[in-house]
Each structure stands twice: as structure tokens, then as C-alpha cells.
Symmetry: C2
Subunit: 474 residues, 2 copies
């Protein structure tokens, strides 16, 4: 398998980035039932090449510029091999002391790299936990916030009064989690952003909104502030929002799933300014810190609120250290009971590369994105349409200087289709404040400057084809 994987990486550029198969391609190719008898490893691997590969959208392809990259490393790979080798189930401390304590160590290490205050660290008064996804981090903190708020009110049917806040650019998982815990959809305020607000949550609208809600007898519960939104990597103004939120007893969470990793560089750390005043913060190293899926780090100032909401104490898990309250039982910090030895991957990454090289890795990706931005800016038929933050460039094809009265959105849709159909590059789109734009997210582990250059050539070429057609039609 090691050889097979090495070959995969060696040949990865020969595969189309975006899979070109049709729905149902695999369902109709594989047998309807599992084999009764063993099949040889070589046959299974052969089927991976024959049936799985055509259906892969290759996230690790160096010309994958879609969504946000999911970065990897050999350090995390071997760390995960070791995690599997142990296959320990660290629901409580005793079931795997090393698993629990290494997670505590690594969460403090990363907190320190992010210059988080000690109020988020085990060495201080808080603590952190590794979840699978940001969704889980948000869900767990929402439940804790809800329970705290409900315990504090005497009104009838209190959950119907709770209101949550975020921008309309906040990840869709936020509203999903709110609905899961029973927040009425009409109480989920997704405050509109605009081009002028740089697609970030405008504090003045938040202030108006929360004031009106309180006046209407509603109870502000939770504010989700995003540092690096999924669409455009917009940055909600944390400090200004906190100045407003501070007047209310509201849980403030910072979702920095993507951009948080960049904050290990001193020059980007200011995006987290104000974090000392929030209740919780989550960052997903599986996006930009080379750890593979799944790895989302959640820090909390008061983990006991989550433990109070999620804690269980069945007889079959009772043990002396847990009863003595001298240990962390991570089952009470998360949705599930069982958990893998999750910290090994991150521990291997932090030690194998060291802080300096991880900072350089972030800077290199951002450098390539800035380079791509300069290419876009150098072509007058293109424009940058969102402030370029971190390693994401949002732009669009806009040849209105050459062609009047064209429909920019459909032109860009066509351009994106053409680009992705080449199989040479994969990019995605978004719409923010009504503006359709193409997203170019740099940073898969194998991406080098030459891949960015090559991608730009594909984009220009396909744009040229569209231009030529437009010319013929006018």
C-alpha cells in the first residue's frame, strides 16, 4: 500500500482534478453483494485503480483550487498510522491516559502558537479538545450556551425566546446546529453583509438587531464570529462586535476553521485580537495545518459548561480517577463517547516541522495567492471582487470594456464550466451580496508556483475562447 500511495502521488498530475464520471457510475459497476470468500489484495487494489480512481475528485492534486484545501503531510500520515496501531478508545482518562494527556498538551501547544490567553489553556483556567469538524464544536458550545441561558430564565418555553447571531456569510453548519438544538428558525439572525462591509458582519447592524430583539423580549444567546468565511475569507470585526456583545450575556464563539491556522504567523495574529473576551474559539488544522481530516480544535474559557451539558456517568464507565475529578474525561467534551487517539497527528506535525516551518508553509501559500492576484490584476478583462484575504482570491471575468451589455454572471458560469471540464484545474464559485465570483484557493500540499501559473494559463485560454465567440456574435 505504501508503494501504491507513492505511485499515486507521483502520477497525480495525470488525473483530471475534477472527476468526470456520471452519477451512478460505480453503483452499476460493482457487485450487489459482498464476496462470500476472501479476495486477494492485488485484486482489490486493481479495482481501486479501475473503479475508484475515475470517480475521484483529487483533493490533493496540485491544481485543485476549489473550496479550501485539505492539507496533508508525511508527519501526520505516520501519526495516524500510530493512532490506528493503538486503536485506543479514550472516552475517559483511564481508558487511555496518554491519549487524553497528549491531547491536553497539544491543545496548549497550539493555543500558545496562536498566542491565546491562558484563560483558554489547561495550564491556565480553560482547555481545549479535538473534534472532528467545526460543526461539532459549534453544536457542543451551542448546547452549553442554551442550557446556561435556560437555567437563568424563568419564562415559559424559554427556547422559543433564544436568538442567535451571525453574518449571512457564516458557514451553513451554524444554522444547521442551531436548528438541531431547537432554536426556532425565525430566531436565527443571519445579518446581511455587503460589498461595502467587505462581506464581513457589520457591527452597526448587529447592534440594531440585538437591541430590537431585547426590546421585543427575546434573549440573545450566541454570536458566531467568523475569521475567514467560506465564500470569500471575509473577516468579521471581532473587537467591534465584542464591544456590542459585551452589553449582553451572550456566548461569543469565533469560527476560524480556515484562517485560524494563519494566525500562528505574528503578522496575521491581529485577526484574533479580542479573543481574550470570547467564550470559545475553533480552528480546523485539517484545512491548513497539514493534519488530514478530521481535526478541529476547540478551546473554551469555561469547559465545565460543556461538561455540565454533555456529561454522562454510567456505571460501566465509573473509575477512581474520574470519580476523584482529578482528570479530564473527553467523552464529556464532545457528542460521542468513543474517540480515537486524535492528538497524535497534530503532535507529529508540530514536532516534525516546528513552528518556524509551519509559519513558512502558511506564508508560502499566501505568497502564491498574492502572485495569482497579480496575474488577475495584470489582465484588464478580469477583476478582483472581494478583498483578497489569506490564500484565497475571488475574482471574475468582466470584459465589459470590450463588450457592452453582456451578462457577467452567465459568462463566468460558462468560464468555470469550461475550466473544470478541461480536467486540468478545479475551481469553485460563490455568490456574495449578489455578486457571482470565481474562487481560487491556493494551498494543497503539492501546489507549487508553476501550478498556479499553469492554472492561470488555462483560465486565460478559456476566457479567450469565450471572448472570441462573443466577438463572432457581435
Amino acid at each position: 500500500m505504501v508503494d501504491y500511495i507513492a505511485d499515486y502521488y507521483k502520477n497525480i498530475e495525470n488525473f483530471p482534478v475534477l472527476s468526470q464520471v456520471q452519477p451512478g457510475y460505480l453503483l452499476s459497476s460493482l457487485p450487489q453483494t459482498a464476496p462470500a470468500r476472501p479476495e486477494p489484495f492485488e485484486v482489490i487494489l486493481g479495482d481501486v485503480s479501475k473503479y475508484i480512481f475515475p470517480g475521484m475528485t483529487h483533493w490533493l492534486h496540485p491544481k485543485f483550487f476549489a473550496f479550501f484545501p485539505a492539507t496533508i503531510s508525511s508527519a501526520a500520515f505516520v501519526g495516524d498510522m500510530l493512532c490506528n496501531a493503538f486503536n485506543s478508545v479514550g472516552f475517559n482518562w483511564l481508558a487511555s491516559p496518554a491519549s487524553t494527556e497528549l491531547e491536553m498538551v497539544v491543545m496548549d501547544w497550539l493555543a500558545s502558537m496562536l498566542k491565546l490567553p491562558t484563560s483558554f489553556m489547561f495550564s491556565g483556567t480553560g482547555g481545549g479538545v479535538i473534534h472532528g469538524t467545526t460543526s461539532e464544536a459549534i453544536l457542543c458550545t451551542l448546547v452549553a450556551a442554551r442550557n446556561r441561558a435556560m437555567a437563568a430564565t424563568n419564562v415559559d418555553n424559554p427556547v422559543s425566546k433564544l436568538v442567535v447571531y451571525a453574518s449571512d456569510q457564516t458557514h451553513s453548519t451554524f444554522a444547521k446546529a442551531c436548528k438541531m438544538i431547537g432554536i426556532p428558525p425565525k430566531n436565527i439572525r443571519l445579518i446581511p453583509t455587503t460589498v461595502d462591509s467587505k462581506f464581513a458582519l457589520p457591527p452597526c447592524h448587529f447592534r440594531k438587531c440585538i437591541k430590537a430583539d431585547v426590546a421585543a423580549g427575546l434573549v440573545p444567546l450566541y454570536l458566531c464570529v467568523t475569521v475567514g468565511t467560506t465564500s470569500t475569507a471575509a473577516i468579521d470585526p471581532l473587537e467591534e462586535l465584542l464591544d456590542i456583545a459585551g452589553d449582553y450575556d451572550i456566548w461569543v464563539h469565533v469560527d476560524a476553521a480556515y484562517a485560524g491556522s494563519a494566525c500562528i504567523c505574528p503578522e496575521f495574529r491581529y485577526h484574533l485580537n479580542g479573543v481574550d473576551r470570547v467564550d470559545s474559539l475553533s480552528i480546523a488544522p485539517h484545512k491548513w495545518l497539514l493534519t488530514y481530516l478530521d481535526c478541529c480544535c476547540l478551546w473554551m474559557k469555561n469547559p465545565s459548561l460543556v461538561v455540565k451539558a454533555l456529561g454522562t456517568n454510567p456505571e460501566y464507565l465509573k473509575n477512581e480517577p474520574s470519580e476523584s475529578n482529578s482528570v479530564v474525561d473527553y467523552k464529556d467534551w464532545q457528542i460521542g463517547t468513543g474517540r480515537r487517539f486524535k492528538s497524535l497527528r497534530l503532535w507529529f506535525v508540530l514536532r516534525t516541522y516546528g513552528i518556524t516551518n509551519l509559519q513558512n508553509h502558511i506564508r508560502s501559500d499566501i505568497g502564491m495567492a498574492r502572485y495569482f492576484e497579480s496575474l488577475v490584476r495584470s489582465d484588464p478583462r478580469f477583476e478582483i471582487v472581494a478583498p483578497p484575504n489569506f490564500a484565497l482570491v475571488c475574482f471574475r471575468f468582466n470584459p465589459t470594456s470590450e463588450f457592452k451589455s453582456i451578462k457577467i454572471e452567465s459568462l463566468n458560469r460558462e468560464l468555470l464550466d469550461r475550466i473544470n471540464s478541461t480536467g486540468q484545474v478545479y475551481m469553485t464559485h460563490t455568490i456574495a451580496s449578489g455578486v457571482y465570483m470565481l474562487r481560487f484557493a491556493v494551498g494543497t500540499t503539492l501546489t507549487e508556483k508553476r501550478h498556479v501559473v499553469a492554472a492561470w494559463k488555462v483560465i486565460e485560454k478559456e476566457a479567450q475562447v469565450i471572448s472570441t465567440t462573443l466577438k463572432l456574435n457581435t
Copy 2:
């Protein structure tokens, strides 16, 4: 790393099964911050041996008989290597068509092995998904059930009227999930089991309970039926419970996390009889089907109810196949958005071993448990205290024929402490219907009959020490 892991398995019997460290052992040994510069692989591996190993409770040790085993295999190991190698993020079909479709194939394969009706299969009218844990499966189906029930009622504050049912032996994650989605704790009915009911949910009590609730104006929402409880592997009588539940519009879920895997053997399949009448069923192959953590399979008769409750449609994920509704987007079947190529491990396991060998693997574990049971029964100072189901034996030391007026519970607590302190064996306890008992769960992948024999010798030896002390004191 491959060599390191091979050595680990070679030497695993030399380590104490249960870690003997004290809380804080690792926190005080490791540096307070991540290194600034890279550290060599050998140094990190050296630290694994020096610092991590002493803090491991070795779940794969052949004399680990605690909780339920978490089984592994070389097939799943290489399958997971491949999953990492791809590091694809299959939130929707297009982001990784092979990942989505292989999961559909494998879920149908396993459904077929379990002789589930086609109403749970993609080839029929239902479908399945791989979650990380049973907790997630229960949480997602609970939300779907809640939303369906709330849409169907016109009462004020409907969630306060919803009532859920399970036995007091049901996994603690059930009540936790109910509380997460806002079910009032007072509406969670954990119906008492008894020795007479074999620690299973007594249908007559369920009938009384649900009748009384409906009479009181409450709305039955969800019944969780467990096949193989965590404490004693008790089996709730599914068909009798369904006969009652059928009179109400209630979601019935079967949690067969542990024992479900055994139902691939025709001789154990009857435990799932009635499954054609339930709404959902979950089984965790990471417990007994050799797949490593995390792998919990959830089948639903009407997945669209979950999709309706958990579906999101943000612009940045929009794509043609999803819009056409011709594909499965697994992000809407689970809590999070991102997801690994989860089915590879299970696919490798099913093909590498084939159904026949997997059945034999289950039978071999159950055979060893029956052998252990016979050892217990052969010693008059011991007794079996719960019906021995599957590969679990619940027993206790009860030398009342020799010693009158002893405290059996404290005697068994002492015995368990002694056994686990040897480091040679690790077992856990439970209390069901007030009876304290020792649990002997057979089945880690490396366990052979000789380990069961050796474990029994340790148990007898420690019991003898206690007997001798008792004699001296009388």
C-alpha cells in the same frame, strides 16, 4: 513506522494491559510549547516509547477484556492508509463521487449480509450512511423524528410534550442526545429492567408507560431498542416492543452497536427479527467487525426525513448533480459538512475476508466466551449473573457457601482492583438492577483461547488470595 508498529504488536503482551500511571504523568513530562525547529523522526518515535507507552491502556492487548473490544485488521489498516492518501472531502457527490458511491455500495452490502429488508437499502427504497459513532446516528435520527413530530402537531411549545423511551440499560448517549436536541429531561423514560426481564426492556412496562403518557396529553416521539446493551449485552424484545409501538406514531430505532455484527451469522440473525418494522438501525463495525474507529453504520427507511432536518444548500457548494437531485449528498445525512472516504476500510474488510470468514471470526469470539463461561461455572465460588449473550460473560465471585455474611459487592470490587493491578488482564464492572458484576468481554483481534485461560488463572489466583484473607479473619 510500519516496523515500529510491527514491533508493538510483537511485544504487546509485555506491557501491562491497563496503564498504571498517575493523572498528570504526561503533562509534567513534556515541554510546555511546541518546538520552533524540526525534530527528527527518531526522536519523536523515541518519545512515543518513553512517554506515550506507559500511559497506554492497550486496547489491542490480547488480555484486554474490558468494555467491548475495538477490533482491527490489516485489511482495514491499509484501507485507512488509502483513505488518508486521497484525503478527499466528500460532503457532496461531486466533491468525491467514488467516496459517496462506494459508501452506498458498502452500506447495501452490509445490509444484505444482515438480511435487512430492501426498505433499508439504496437498491430498495431506503439507504445508509457511515457515521463516526452511535451517538451521531441517534442524534441525527432524533432530530428528524422531532421535526416530523413538531410539524404534525399544533400545540403550543410542542417540544415540551415529546416523550422518548428506552430501558435503563440503554447507552448513556441516548439521554445525552435527547437533551442536546431539547427534550426535557423529565420526558426521558428510562424504563427499569430487572433480573427477571434479563436486563431487557419489559414490554408490559413500556405499554403502561406510553399509555399513561398519551393519556396525560404527551406525544410519544422515539423508542430506542438495544440489541446487546453495554452493561450485560441484554437484548430488548424487538418484536413485542414493536407490537406496542405500532399503535403510536413513534420513531423506532434499533441500537445494535456491539451485537449487530454478530447478526451476519444466520444463527444470531433472529435477534433482529422485526427490523422490517423499525425506522432506523445502527451497528458499529468498529466494535466487532475489524474496521478500527470510527465506523458506525446507520440505515434508515426514509432518509429524506433526516435530509429534510439536516440539509443545507449554501451557494459555494452548489453544483449541477446536487441541484438535479440525482445524487446523494452525504453532508445532509450527518452533523458535519466535511467527511473522509469512510467506506474504504469496510470495503477492504468485506473483500479481504469475505462473508464466511467474518462469520467465523464472530463465532470464534463467541466460542471463547462460552469456554470462559464454562470455566466460571466449573468453580463453585463463582456465579454467572446475567444471561451470557454474544461474547460477553457477566459473573461474580460469590463464596457464600464458604463464608457467611460477606459483602459480595465490596469483595468483587476488591477482586477487580487486584486483577487489574497485576497489569496482566484488564476487565471492567457494571451494576445492573443493583447487582455488581464483573464483565469479561472476549474479542480483541489478538485474543486466543490461551489468553482466556491465562486470564481465568489470574482471576482464580486473586480470588484465592481474597479467600485466604477471609479465612484468616474468621
